[in-house]
Amino acid sequence: MIERIADLVNADERLVWRGRFVHTTFLIEIGEAGYLVRIVDGRVVAVTPGPFVTPNYSFALRAPRDAWETFWQKLPPPGFNDLFALFKRGLLRIEGDLHPLMANLLYFKDVLASPRKVAS
């Protein structure tokens, strides 16, 4: 799913516009698998799978694979419909420099939820 995030985000003109000042790399961990997602001017320009030796990123989002998969369902059940819902349930850990995330929260929430667009 996460590999498709670049195409899904970049094809959404309004989402790219909302993130037009975002220039950062963040880490997403899906269970044991890590990916560095690089964003330039709101466009996802690289999704690099781990393992990493010295990963360089602003913030990290870490959750078990089944939590992300439930989050990415077309109509997620209560408790799995939002990053903060996962976070409050203790399923998602958010760490690092949160400024890019919090200053562009609506953007990042939709970036992370973009796989729902192609969920069955």
């Binding site: 949160l98 929260l105 609506l106």
Partner: protein
């Protein structure tokens, strides 16, 4: 489309609140049993547009919704620039009682959402004799802090955007797009630090876990309605209050933390039976 006025009338009320002069924006519609509506933290009374405009409600109820000081079209008090806004339980209870008195309301029903859903528990505890009934939307005795609220008020993060971003997931994913984004727009329009100041009540000062057991719903009926998608005030939190007080609780399917504004029609299907029971009691 044909131009038309809604039945809602909005006016400014000048009154003393908490010992200081205030200019409060108040909307109302309908006639009958007074129903005073309290908006959520960091938003304003526009959230109740669907209730105020519903003829089934206004046939029996005089629906009144005011913007709390610092919110919506109500001004902050003179001197606000030199103070930090922080809502406390004591001030919030007093404000509601003083507004009800200023409007001459005789035993109103109070319906509040989120912080408003919490304060009705305080009203039930402290002033049960003053109210005909209380309705708590998204009501729990306590919500533990789960993120750093200082993000909501700092110069290097846009306050309106981050407040909307924080609450966006509290709306049910099934909510219509127009209502979802209007609900978020209200958050985007909040004044600097106001949502954060309300959350001081919601997450710290308004904790009523130690007094919930003392609420006597025989003295004042208490109804609780909570959306299944609310992860702030959880359905478990509401059911716990109901179990401890004897309140009548309903979990609302397909709704989140802002039922009256995120999908008014669906919300009204849950509210109407409650209003009928209050009217017929």
């Amino acid at each position: 489309m044909t131009a038309s006025f809604e039945p809602i009338v909005g006016r400014y009320l000048n009154l003393d609140l908490l010992g200081r002069p205030h200019r409060l924006y108040v909307e109302e519609a309908g006639a009958g049993i007074p129903l005073l509506c309290l908006h959520t933290a960091g938003s304003d009374a526009r959230q109740y547009r669907g209730v105020l405009n519903d003829a089934r409600v206004t046939a029996d109820y005089r629906v009144i919704a005011f913007d709390m000081p610092w919110h919506g079209k109500s001004s902050p008090p003179v001197g606000w620039q030199d103070e930090e806004y922080r809502l406390t339980s004591r001030d919030y209870v007093r404000m509601i009682v003083e507004v009800a008195d200023a409007l001459g309301l005789d035993k109103p029903v109070v319906m509040g959402c989120s912080i408003g859903g919490r304060i009705v528990l305080h009203l039930a505890h402290e002033h049960p004799e003053r109210f005909r009934a209380l309705i708590g939307l998204e009501s729990a005795a306590h919500v533990a802090p789960y993120y750093d609220v200082s993000w909501l008020h700092r110069p290097d993060v846009h306050g309106g955007e981050v407040c909307a971003g924080v609450v966006s997931g509290l709306i049910a994913p099934t909510a219509p797009e127009a209502e979802r984004w209007e609900t978020l727009w209200h958050y985007m329009q909040g004044g600097p630090g106001v949502f954060k100041g309300d959350l001081y009540f919601y997450k710290v000062d308004g904790d009523i876990r130690d007094r919930v057991d003392q609420i006597d719903t025989r003295r004042c009926p208490l109804y609780l309605l909570t959306g299944e998608y609310d992860y702030s005030c959880t359905t478990e939190g509401t059911l716990d209050v109901a179990r401890r007080t004897g309140a009548d609780a309903t979990i609302m399917k397909g709704l989140g933390h802002f039922p009256m504004s995120e999908e008014p029609g669906r919300f009204l299907s849950y509210l109407m039976p409650v209003l009928k029971r209050i009217r017929d009691a």
